[in-house]
């Protein structure tokens, strides 16, 4: 979404995502340091393993809240299309990874690949929609 066209709901969504991602980078670095240097085991290891996923969950919740709060139906539709494209790319990646692992007996795709695929596909879908919108009838 280009700056001048951002709705209030989209600005709130962007702010939530930015905060969540800032927290994510702090948490992921902290968790990696703790697991590597403090040799945690048992429930503490699970705690530090799950902790970096929390800000990612917050981003997913932020998408849901945006869809709830956005009063502009066309903007909402564009976000839903983007999420759908991201989800399709994510499921496709998982399915390919599973079959390659099952039949070729190779390692699955590396960790975190699925969410990156989702985010990149969603971003591409958003960019394509914006470009398409700007190409015709702009005043």
């Amino acid at each position: 979404m280009f700056c001048a066209d951002r709705t209030a709901a989209f600005k709130r969504y962007q702010r939530r995502v930015q905060v969540a991602m800032a927290v994510y980078f702090v948490v992921i670095l902290g968790a990696a340091w703790v697991v590597k240097h403090l040799a945690v085991v048992g429930w503490r290891l699970y705690f530090w393993s799950v902790l970096p996923a929390v800000p990612i969950m917050v981003v997913i919740v932020a998408m849901g809240r945006y869809l709830q709060e956005e009063s502009d139906e066309y903007q909402r539709l564009m976000m839903m299309r983007s999420i759908l494209v991201g989800t399709a790319a994510l499921l496709g990646t998982i399915v390919v990874s599973d079959f390659v692992r099952a039949f070729a007996e190779v390692d699955p795709f590396p960790p975190f690949a699925s969410f990156i695929v989702f985010a990149v596909a969603m971003a591409i879908a958003q960019a394509v929609q914006k470009l398409r919108d700007r190409s015709v009838g702009d005043e």
Binding site: D5, D72, E73, Y74, Q75, D138, E139
Partner: protein, 64 residues
């Protein structure tokens, strides 16, 4: 669906941004409706019709 939104807007000398503000939607939404890339919901179609003082079917018509 075809529509006369661009014509009606031009008659009043409004920009897309001005119309968007009156309808409380984004300029992108107005652009998408005008160019036929997006058909508005019934509540938004009523809002557009009310703003221009027309009936919905006078602004929007089925594509043939």
């Amino acid at each position: 669906m075809n529509n006369r939104l661009r014509v009606l807007r031009a008659e009043r000398g409004w920009s897309q941004a001005e119309l968007a503000e009156k309808l409380e939607v984004s300029r992108q939404s107005v652009n998408a409706i005008e160019t036929g890339k997006y058909d508005p919901s019934l509540p938004l179609a009523f809002k557009i019709a009310k703003l221009f003082g027309n009936r919905i079917e006078e602004i929007f018509e089925e594509s043939v």
